[in-house]
């Protein structure tokens, strides 16, 4: 029978005899575990941030932009052709069962004036559906009504950044602002969304009815044309179906033949964002993998010291064997020693890792998240390292011949 508490006592005593050596040996594990925790925290933080931004764009989003135009063989970028119309948006809403909301967008940049303040921002002409598509609530006021969209009323919703820049502490609701010299009544304020994954301030925007944008702000040569159509699918499972339905519908509406290319592009925003999220995950794993190499090196350090320790204590091992220590008594003694080294190193490493993540987020402004799982993982891993790298020295010790070991000087 093996007496674990006593074996632990024996091991602790052996480690305390060489305090400096034990501490230095632990250092490898401390650095390894600290690095793993910090790297996972950085990765998890980045992922969470991306996730937040992803949620801020809205879920299950599809964006339709006009296709490219070709002028004399020179192909222009996507969206340079005006092929999408409000009619397209209405048709999608009506005929695609996988689609929940559709909002056309006619946008541009304009100077906005209130009193003696002015601000340049992006103006989007759209419909009330936009708020549903983007999952974007109002903090104050009301959205524009269908009637206001139909009648091209001069009303607008302001993003928080615009409010901050034009109205210093004044309640904007009911105030008149001038966009391109056209007076608009502020009827609502959009909730704060923050940055999108591309780093753009989503709150730096003004929503007006699409009809008003067309008639008063960004009049185009072709009335009824829009720049973007935003679509919200019923669910994430419906995204692909919605994409297909939109494709078919628009090809039909735009009279595109079998062999002709689309004159529009359907982008699945959610999918794109998810791809970005996956990339972050791969990055996190890569960072953690690199960090765990240092944990491995720490383990090798433990093995090295344990081998030295076995040689130094050959005589002690001989005595123990002579008075009845069995193979596993000897093995366990050294394995537990290695385990204690790596576990204490693991605990200190976790503390270092957590503080390291804190410091990193304070100094560099990175968002870091130390997950309980990463702590558990690092701790378990350091324990495994101890057992794994402690085993060989322990095995060597247990194979010593008691007579030779007793004679060892």
């Amino acid at each position: 029978m093996i007496n674990i508490p006593s074996t632990i006592r024996i091991s602790v005593r052996a480690l305390r005899v060489n305090k400096m050596r034990s501490a230095l040996t632990m250092l490898g594990i401390i650095i390894g575990v600290g690095a793993v925790i910090t790297m996972l925290a950085v990765g998890t933080g980045a992922k969470q941030r991306l996730g937040d931004q992803l949620a801020s764009i809205g879920s299950n989003l599809i964006m339709i932009v006009p296709g490219t135009s070709t002028a004399g063989g020179v192909r222009m970028g996507a969206g340079t052709q005006s092929t999408l119309s409000i009619g397209d948006a209405e048709a999608i809403q009506k005929e695609s069962p996988a689609v929940l909301y559709v909002a056309p967008v006619l946008s541009g940049v304009a100077q906005v004036v209130y009193g003696n303040q002015n601000w340049s921002t992006s103006i989007s002409g759209t419909t009330t559906n936009m708020l549903s598509v983007r999952d974007w609530p109002l903090t104050e006021g009301r959205p524009f009504s269908d009637e206001e969209v139909r009648s091209a009323a001069k009303v607008c919703l302001l993003g928080q950044t615009v409010v901050d820049n034009l109205f210093g502490g004044i309640n904007p609701i009911g105030q008149i602002i001038r966009i391109k010299n056209v007076p608009f009544t502020v009827i609502g304020i959009l909730d704060t969304k923050g940055q999108d994954p591309g780093g753009h301030d989503q709150d730096d925007t003004i929503y007006v009815p699409v009809s008003t944008a067309q008639k008063k702000l960004f009049g185009t040569a072709f009335p009824g044309m829009v720049r973007i159509i935003m679509v919200k699918a019923k669910s994430s499972e419906d995204l692909a179906e919605a994409e297909k339905q939109i494709n078919e519908l628009l090809r039909q509406r735009h009279h595109i033949g079998q062999k002709q290319d689309d004159d529009f592009t359907v982008r699945n925003l959610t999918q794109m964002m998810q791809a970005a999220e996956q990339q972050t995950e791969v990055m996190t794993l890569l960072l953690a993998a690199i960090a765990s190499v240092s944990l491995l090196v720490g383990g090798i350090g433990i093995m090295n010291i344990m081998l030295v320790s076995v040689t130094e204590r050959t005589r002690e091992i001989g005595i123990r064997m002579a008075i009845g220590a069995k193979t596993w008594d000897i093995r366990l003694q050294f394995i537990i020693e290695a385990l204690i080294l790596s576990m204490i190193g693991g605990v200190v490493g976790i503390i270092i890792g957590i503080s390291g993540s804190e410091i990193l987020s304070m100094m560099a402004g990175w968002s870091t998240v130390v997950s309980p799982l990463s702590i558990l993982l690092a701790f378990g891993f350091s324990g495994l390292v101890g057992i794994f790298f402690g085993f060989y020295p322990a095995y060597k010790a247990s194979l010593l011949d008691p007579i030779d070991a007793l004679r060892y000087e």
Binding site: I319, A322, G324, T327
Partner: protein
């Protein structure tokens, strides 16, 4: 039934092509309660014989019966168990664990026998008292004299109530006065507790404490006689 019986034990060491016979057909029988001294010049095979008796080494041929059980073919862990329960060792160099208190050194065999902390402490304290070291439980080996260290080692050999104590030159590192004290302790243990004591020495005056003297030379028993007490 003899406590210890060796039947034609041989031990051959192979050094390349040369076979070295350390022991040659040694047959001995030792009864419980005997006090035996083994003497012989170096290379006579007495140490090899002690290692085999102590289950630290295995004979190449022959049978070794300890309390009627053949231990010659047991594996490492079985031999470790025999050493733990049936045998006590006393070495020339004391062989105590350094930086470990006297009582913890004495506890060691009980630890490997799987006893609980309370029983270990009680039995170890009793064993230390038996060798005259009551009150020195927490002293470390480097705080004890050579004679005291050897007493701790004897207490360690006693603590498991082993029927046999094997002592390999137990007085080799001690001065004459202390040597005699240690020998008197052995005599007392042998008389009072009926513990079988087998010791190796090359000093005649030490061997004189025993009641049976076995003389080895060239791997064979040269003489085996009861000592005449003067």
């Amino acid at each position: 039934m003899a406590l210890i019986e060796t039947q034609e034990i041989t031990k051959t060491y192979r050094l390349g092509d040369i076979a070295l016979n350390a022991l040659n057909n040694v047959s001995l029988s030792i009864e419980k309660g005997e006090f035996i001294a083994i003497m012989g010049p170096s290379g006579s095979g007495k140490s090899t014989f002690m290692n085999i008796l102590g289950c630290l080494d295995k004979p190449t041929g022959g049978r070794y019966l300890l309390e009627g059980v053949d231990v010659a073919h047991m594996d490492r862990d079985e031999l470790a168990s025999i050493r733990n329960k049936k045998l006590g060792f006393v070495f020339q160099g004391f062989n105590l664990l350094p930086r470990t208190s006297a009582i913890e050194n004495v506890e060691l065999p009980l630890l490997y026998d799987g006893l609980g902390a309370k029983e270990r402490a009680e039995r170890s304290a009793a064993a230390l008292a038996k060798v005259g070291l009551a009150g020195r439980e927490t002293h470390h080996p480097n705080q004890l004299s050579g004679g005291q260290q050897q007493r701790v080692a004897i207490a360690r050999a006693l603590v498991n109530n082993s029927p046999v104590i094997l002592a390999d030159e137990p007085t080799g590192n001690l001065d004459t006065k202390t040597s005699f004290e240690i020998m008197e302790l052995f005599v007392r243990l042998n008389r009072e507790s009926n513990i079988t004591i087998i010791l190796v020495t090359h000093e005649k005056e030490i061997a004189d404490f025993s009641r049976r003297l076995i003389f080895f030379r060239d791997g064979v028993v040269l003489s085996d006689e009861l000592s005449v007490k003067t």
